[in-house]
């Protein structure tokens, strides 16, 4: 095991204010079980899970309440015991509505004892368990990528035939401003991460391991060095330059192994890499060794409008209002509430939204930190082009989308856009460039889906 500096620096990128000092020294704190949980069926990328319970049912902690529904999907388990008050459509942080279970955690079935807190799944010995058993465990534990996108982990760890994973990259960059959840996990759960890495190495057939951490987290680097000191095999800790969006999967692969992931639909596995967030790795260790499914996660609640910023271990489905209350409430009325980080997170209009497996942070920002701006015409300064980590001509894409020319945006490779927000961040005319890209991507995806459906219908005929 050795620590090296990353020899590859991607072009572009920006330096936002990190503001991590607000919550970085706050140890992970488990929050008391809230009275009500709203467990969404759509906590991951892909098809939402199929709800298995109805209003009035009693559920036990860890019970499967949402069934895996399709190949790219994972199951949802109840984060706590209680009574299902209702199953209804609820707004998610990204704006879409999905079925959600409203759980009253105080209600217990009559005449029944407190449910025992034993392991939910049978603990597995990873050294003797087969690869298939381990994959099945990860799938039934409901684990999806906890960095943000929520890609089902069991799918990622099971490369299609003919593709081999040569490098397992551990994503500990956490380049989003304010967020410190992964940082705290690296400090406090280093042995769990090590165990998770060993399990994943077994599943993937012994790839080399690269642990990517930004240079501004020396304690995390030290903690990882200590945890991985006596590991055998090809393991390196790669210290990355501090630059946003270093935590992006593609940029991480470039920074650690120097490979470039081709345009979508290519995936990291096409260049022999699998990237996993450190939180996901710790969750894998828990699922295998302790039989504990993914029911809770660390979420950073930060920002200058919250009384005490904290890193909270909260059950999935905790309402934002409960998280804020646990942090001592609002210091000043927030002007903006963001689910996730400031660069890629989603502004939300209500605290009645609940956390999912992918909620890495909740930020409450005072009017001082929020600028109200009016977007203006592009002045052709090219700052977005310089900032784009995917080397796209963001200005041209934005202009094309503005005049409804989605084809031109597609020709300008808008599908490669990772929506990191560097272009909008650097635009002096306050143009919502990322939003333009997102719009183009959505219409292209919709068109592709329509074409696919049409082709399928034609094939049927």
């Amino acid at each position: 095991m050795k620590t090296v500096k990353s020899p590859f620096k991607f072009s572009g990128g920006v330096h936002p204010d990190y503001n991590k000092e607000l919550a970085r020294e706050q140890p992970i704190e488990r929050m008391p079980l809230p009275a009500e949980l709203v467990i969404s069926m759509s906590q991951h990328l892909g098809a939402p899970a199929k709800c298995l319970v109805k209003a009035g049912d009693f559920v036990k902690r860890g019970q499967v309440v949402g069934e895996k529904n399709g190949f790219i999907s994972v199951c949802v388990r109840a984060s706590a015991s209680g009574k299902v008050k209702a199953v209804e459509k609820r707004l998610g942080p990204a704006g879409g509505k999905a079925d959600a279970i409203i759980l009253d955690t105080a209600a217990k079935p009559e005449g029944e004892q407190e449910p025992e807190n034993g392991p939910i799944l049978q603990p597995l010995d990873w050294k003797t368990a087969s690869r298939e058993d381990l994959l099945k465990r990860i799938e039934e534990a409901g684990i999806c990528g906890m960095g943000g996108a929520g890609f089902p982990t069991s799918v990622k760890l099971n490369p299609p035939p003919g593709k081999r994973c040569e490098y397992l990259v551990l994503n500990g960059a956490e380049c989003e401003p304010y967020l410190t959840a992964d940082y705290r996990v690296m400090l406090e759960k280093a042995p769990r991460i090590r165990l998770g890495v060993e399990i994943m190495r077994k599943i993937l057939g012994g790839p080399a391991v690269r642990i990517a951490i930004e240079a501004n987290k020396p304690e995390a680097i030290k903690a990882m060095e200590a945890a991985f000191a006596d590991i055998d095999g090809n393991v390196e800790i790669v210290v990355l330059p501090v630059l946003y969006p270093q935590g992006s999967e593609k940029h991480q692969i470039y920074a650690t192994v120097g490979r470039i992931v081709p345009e979508p639909p290519a995936l990291p596995i096409d260049v022999g890499c699998v990237v996993e967030n450190v939180g996901t790795v710790a969750a894998i260790a828990d699922a295998v060794e302790l039989g504990e499914p993914l029911l809770e996660r660390v979420t950073t609640v930060s920002g200058d409008a919250v009384a005490t910023p904290k890193n909270i271990l909260a059950p999935c489905g905790t309402k934002y209002s409960d998280l804020v209350a646990f942090c001592g409430g609002e210091k000043t009325p927030p002007a903006k509430v963001i689910s996730g980080g400031t660069m890629m997170g989603f502004a939300v209009s209500t605290l009645e939204i609940s956390t999912t497996k992918t909620t890495s942070g909740l930020l409450l920002l005072s009017p001082k930190r929020v600028t109200q701006y009016v977007s203006q015409a592009c002045i052709n300064c090219g700052r977005c082009v310089r900032a784009c980590p995917m080397c796209l001509n963001a200005a041209e894409i934005a202009k094309a989308v503005e005049s409804d020319d989605i084809k031109a945006a597609e020709d300008a490779h808008v599908m490669s856009c990772i929506e990191c927000g560097a272009c909008s961040f650097s635009c002096p005319a306050y143009r919502p460039i990322t939003q333009f890209c997102r719009r183009a991507k959505n219409s292209i995806r919709a068109r592709m889906a329509a074409e696919k459906a049409k082709a399928a219908a034609a094939a049927k005929k």
């Binding site: 942080p93 009016v374 409804d404 919502p432 997102r438």
Partner: protein, 269 residues
């Protein structure tokens, strides 16, 4: 001089012969009815029939693969003209127009955020579901107005309104609306429920002053369930356009004030 005349004349002669032969052997035989049908169609190229423009529909009609009557813009007169050309029956069609099922103006429906991104409903809806408190309601960023080939939709007071006289019923707005609250309704129907929120009354009331609460009073006042003028989706009344109510009294009696007698925007153009 003479040589020049002979040269030009012979070149002309050769070209004429070639063209005459080409005309005979290489001609593309197009059914003359395609041109006639295209001329009978309104020429709006709106795509409402599901074919690429009027010409595409005309070709499908002549080929016999499309039903006569799919052109909402042309209506009955157009269908009758086509029937005459092709010698087929015209399927009876009624002119249909778009109806925006929301009446939550800026003063009635609360806005929960300040949205200053791209002025497009689909983008706004993808940002925390939009800035409107009611997640089923019209956002008013004009995605429907932008796709309308006839300029029949205008946005006023944060709400899309359809000019019934201009609407040709192509259904483009129905497809583009992220909230799926535009419906094509018979142009002859006059009484409509202008709400799209199936939630319970108190929930609706929290976000909108004019939302349907599902009180069933419209149904009661129009002759009860047997009359079948209304259907209900959760706590949302829907007009049964196969059997629309005609009594204007029920509009005035709606406690939620979400019903309207012909809401279509009539002036301003």
């Amino acid at each position: 001089m003479t040589i020049a005349i002979i040269c030009i004349a012979s070149v002309g002669l050769v070209a004429a012969v070639v063209l005459a032969i080409a005309d005979k052997y290489l001609s593309v035989k197009e059914d003359p009815r395609i041109g006639m049908v295209t001329a009978a169609l309104p020429g709006a190229n709106c795509g409402g029939c599901g074919f690429p423009g009027c010409d595409g529909y005309a070709r499908a009609l002549v080929a016999g693969t499309a039903p006569n009557g799919a052109c909402a813009a042309g209506g009955e007169a157009c269908a009758a003209a086509i029937a005459k050309i092709l010698g087929v029956e015209a399927t009876a069609t009624e002119k249909r127009v778009a109806l925006v099922k929301c009446c939550g103006t800026r003063s009635e429906a609360i806005r929960v955020g300040d949205y200053n991104g791209i002025c497009d409903c689909n983008v706004a809806a993808a940002t925390a579901g939009g800035d409107k408190g009611c997640t089923y309601g019209c956002l008013g960023y004009g995605a429907c107005a932008n796709v309308c080939p006839k300029g029949a939709i205008s946005i006023s007071d944060g709400l899309a309104k359809v000019d019934k006289r201009l609407c040709i019923g192509c259904g483009k707005c129905v497809t583009v609306c992220p909230k799926k609250l535009i419906e094509l309704v018979p142009a002859s129907a006059t009484i409509h429920v202008l709400c799209n929120n199936p939630d319970k009354g108190p929930t609706v009331r929290k976000v909108c002053g004019v939302g349907c609460m599902g009180c069933h009073l419209c149904e009661k006042n129009s002759g009860g369930k047997e009359a079948g003028h209304f259907t209900f989706d959760g706590f949302l009344a829907k007009v049964n356009y196969a059997n629309p109510p005609t009594d204007a009294q029920i509009v005035a009696k709606c406690p939620a004030k979400c019903m309207s007698e012909d809401p279509h925007f009539e002036s301003g153009h």
